[in-house]
């Protein structure tokens, strides 16, 4: 019989301790976590911190290109990187369903540990709750993160200015379409793979190459279209994009056509949108393309003055249409 998670593992007593020691502590070990106190203690320099949180409920838990554990690390590392912070410390909160296979949990925690090591972050605090069968779906993970913002760096969704160039670091929609294709046993043969990855290295390179960098955002849920709408609204500017210039993998566009999905509205988990003065765009593009995850980086549009909050798409066939936020048919549990 396979070993599974029991309600007792969440009761805070001996079984909880054994679970923590056996599954979590060994894999995620670091001097701060090892103290196993009510809160972790870390040292910081005076200055600005970035703080973020994200809950992950992706279904299926394991998918081509990663699993919910690696995704939970990448997602929060990228949220911190988007403010120009050096990601340093993560927390991890687990909600487990009674009956979850222990080996599955171990696989997820292994992936978290590997992703954290690769991103140079420590998981310094954790928590595990167990709920009864049918009260959660296998495993949900929350990660919160703290990073240090170097002096002089000022990047945020409010800083896009007319005349800025709009870049993406690679192809759009890979994560979203991979998850959707895994559902319901479509049995698609297309070579789909989530792009989930930590982009702290690319962010640091971009900040170095491009001192005027205004905005970095990762277009996750809602995709490129929704995230650009958010930036346009927050900055009080408009944008125009060139459909031809937006990189989409042929396998992704093929499956999108089949499933009736638009890659511009699908989640990405290893891509940046970057906005900077037009004269810095060549250096930014070069910095992205030099990075392992940025080979397909491209300039996809520019920031214009008005009407504030609108994003226009100049289509491949010579038309022009408004690119609205995602609305209507939801894609649940994509991340």
């Amino acid at each position: 019989m396979k070993e599974t998670i029991l309600l007792d593992h969440g009761a805070g007593g001996r079984a909880s301790h054994e679970l923590v020691q056996r599954v979590f502590a060994r894999r995620l070990a670091n001097p701060v976590l090892d103290a196993m106190d009510d809160a972790a203690v870390v040292e910081v320099p005076a200055g600005r911190l970035a703080i973020s949180t994200d809950s992950f409920v992706v279904d299926p838990i394991i998918f081509p290109g990663g699993n919910i554990g690696s995704l939970a690390v990448h997602g929060t590392v990228n949220d911190l990187s988007c403010r120009g912070a050096r990601p340093l410390w993560l927390t991890a909160g687990f909600v487990l369903e009674e009956g979850l296979e222990m080996s599955l949990l171990e696989e997820v925690v292994e992936a978290m540990a590997a992703a954290a090591a690769e991103a140079g972050v420590s998981i310094v605090a954790g928590d595990t709750k167990v709920v009864g069968r049918g009260q959660a779906d296998k495993i949900f993970i929350n990660t919160a993160g703290v990073g240090v913002i170097p002096p002089g760096v000022d990047i945020g969704g409010h800083r896009a200015r007319p005349g800025d160039a709009v870049l993406v670091s690679g192809t759009m929609g890979d994560h979203g379409v991979t998850i959707m294709a895994q559902r319901g046993g479509l049995g698609l043969k297309a070579p789909l793979k989530s792009d989930a990855a930590s982009l702290h290295g690319m962010a640091a390179a971009l900040i170095q190459a491009c001192p005027g960098l205004h905005v970095l955002r990762d277009p996750t849920r809602g995709g490129l279209a929704t995230t650009l709408n958010e930036i346009a609204a927050t900055s009080g500017v408009a944008m125009e994009l060139y459909e031809d210039a937006i990189p989409v993998d042929p396998a992704v566009s093929g499956v999108c056509e089949l499933l009736g999905l638009d890659p511009l509205y699908l989640a990405n988990e290893g891509k940046f949108i970057a906005v900077m003065p037009e004269d810095e765009a060549p250096a930014a593009l070069k910095a992205m393309q030099a990075h392992a995850k940025g080979g397909r980086a491209a300039v996809i549009g520019r920031v214009i003055e008005a009407p504030a909050g609108r994003v226009w798409l100049n289509t491949a066939v010579g038309g022009r249409r408004l690119l609205d936020m995602l609305s209507g048919e939801p894609l649940p549990r994509i991340c």
Copy 2:
């Protein structure tokens, strides 16, 4: 028809934005959160930070003395306070079940806002996911927290020393027994109420009154017995307690007897265990008792040398027994 949470509210598009604006942003507003970027930015002095996380899955969501929202704030404020930190910033991650009544979510968020205001913390970052019906039970909340530890303060579960006094800040078991009594419609008439409360003020007063304070811990899941076992193990010491001295509310002991529960193993959500040199115990007791939540504070035992990791209970009838960690029958979803 009552308004409910839809899958669309978690898709990251227009409906998600409307939910954030309508339910969260207005109630939790503060200058850091209002920026609504991928990560929040805050200013810190150089020094030590405490970082913690806790997920809340309590069932029922609303109970005498609070709800899952206020509990999620108190829990993380207390975890930070236990390291001597001044709690400053929280993040909040929500997992919502499709079909959750909007008014219930609003009530929970109101309670979070009130608890945060009372504790002097800002909720600076948030995230909301929605899963399908039957894939979660109404609402789960993760809070992570960051606080600043004043110079010179060094409090942790590893610092208990033989000769130290062991104190609690009030009656044991109130939260746990209140939650258990709410389940299954027992219809008990006993005046039970969760003790859930933020103890940052009491922690600050204790640190002031008691410069040699070694350990502060909040005995949540697993209760007093389990938490003392953890402290004893981490510090490599033993403890002996005086059963007579441990404060338990008569209504709590009555219902515990009825339900076959032991208040020493039940969760508390507004109580501290404090360990300090014996000669500082009177000042510590006075500081706790001067606090609104510390009227029933008491010295309940002392730290002894050996055998390391053991906690002994000198019983009211003159016996002596080992007080082990919680094991066996779990009490699921108590916090």
